[in-house]
Amino acid sequence: MIGAIGLALGILLGFVLEPDVPFWMEPYLPIAVVAALDAVFGALRAFLDGIFDDKVFVVSFVSNVLIAALIVYLGDQLGVGGQLSTGVIVVLGIRIFSNVAAIRRHLFHA
């Protein structure tokens, strides 16, 4: 319940403040958001599996974001930033889909 409230609050805050993305953050934010999304869906699946641990959730959330940013940074330094970003998005997308499939099986038995 608090999770849903927090999500709504964050979205609302974003709309109200409408901050500009800092320049140094610009290439990392989109990947970080997708990585965080992956962590959230993973946590929801774990919760439904009954093995949810808030410590694990925090660690996976933060590490996902940091690793995503690191990969993008590395890609930019190596000159393959665009391709590597695409790769990260694909991998995270597959994980999100599999997590969502598991959640769907839990909730709808289908």
């Binding site: 964050g10 979205i11 805050l13 999304l37 439904l48 909730l107």
Partner: protein
């Protein structure tokens, strides 16, 4: 992993229970992180709305864009330099042309006075020649005019109607008149000359000169110095038919 069916039902039940009973440390943590996620997602959407053209571009793309801009700028600057050079050149040409035109104008006016095609004005003298009938003929006039010319007369006319130039010819006309360049001029004669008035006057009264010549024939010569002599008569010059200028160099 425990029994599949039991796990599923408990999973659903847990979710319902969590929604009904919202106070626990883990829920608070999840709420905070979800809030961060929502905030970041909205900010990102907002920024990609703002600058959707460059937000997704990689560093190389941006560098390429900047390079393209730099190349375009260089090209435009080259164009500016070329056009400025052309403009300067044209301005130089115009100045040269103006100088040449001014020179030509001055030359033309000098030649106009010399050849008698344009009126002239300046300091000089007025020589009035009178005498008994048939005392003053073409010979006397020619010698007088020659003396005035040697004294530096720059422009001359007789009786205000005939301009005297280098090629002028004077012959005796019927009665007390002469014919200058085909124009009949009758006595008394009035010769107007532009030049150094003192020198011209001296030339007229030269010993054994023009004045004495006339006076020996019982004629009369009087000279008036004028600050402003106006020579209004002109003659037309047709371009030479046979002579051609020798090309320079």
């Amino acid at each position: 992993m425990p029994d599949q069916a039991a796990d599923e039902s408990t999973g659903r039940a847990r979710l319902v229970a969590a929604l009904r009973r919202p106070t626990s440390r883990s829920q608070l943590t999840a709420g905070v992180l979800l809030g961060v996620l929502g905030f970041a997602a909205v900010v990102q959407m907002h920024s990609s709305d703002q600058a959707d053209r460059y937000a997704g571009a990689s560093q190389e793309d941006l560098i390429q864009l900047i390079n393209a801009q730099a190349v375009a700028e260089e090209r435009v600057e080259d164009q500016i330099a070329a056009l400025e050079a052309t403009r300067n050149e044209l301005e130089g040409h115009t100045a040269d042309t103006e100088v040449a035109l001014e020179l030509a104008r001055r030359q033309a006016s000098a030649l106009g006075i010399l050849t008698g095609t344009s009126p002239a004005v300046g300091p000089g003298i007025e020589v009035a020649v009178d005498g008994p009938p048939l005392s003053v003929g073409s010979q006397e006039l020619v010698s007088g005019i020659q003396e005035l010319r040697s004294a530096g007369a720059e422009a001359m006319q007789v009786n205000g109607v005939v301009r005297l130039v280098g090629s002028s010819s004077i012959v005796d006309g019927p009665g007390d008149s002469v014919i200058i360049d085909g124009t009949q001029v009758a006595a008394p004669f009035l010769i107007e000359a532009i030049g150094n008035a003192a020198a011209l006057e001296k030339a007229v009264f030269f010993p054994d000169g023009f004045a004495e010549d006339i006076e020996s024939a019982d004629g009369e010569v009087s000279v008036r110095r004028l600050n402003r002599v106006e020579i209004t008569s002109t003659r037309t010059v047709s371009p030479p038919q046979y002579a051609e200028p020798v090309p320079e160099g």
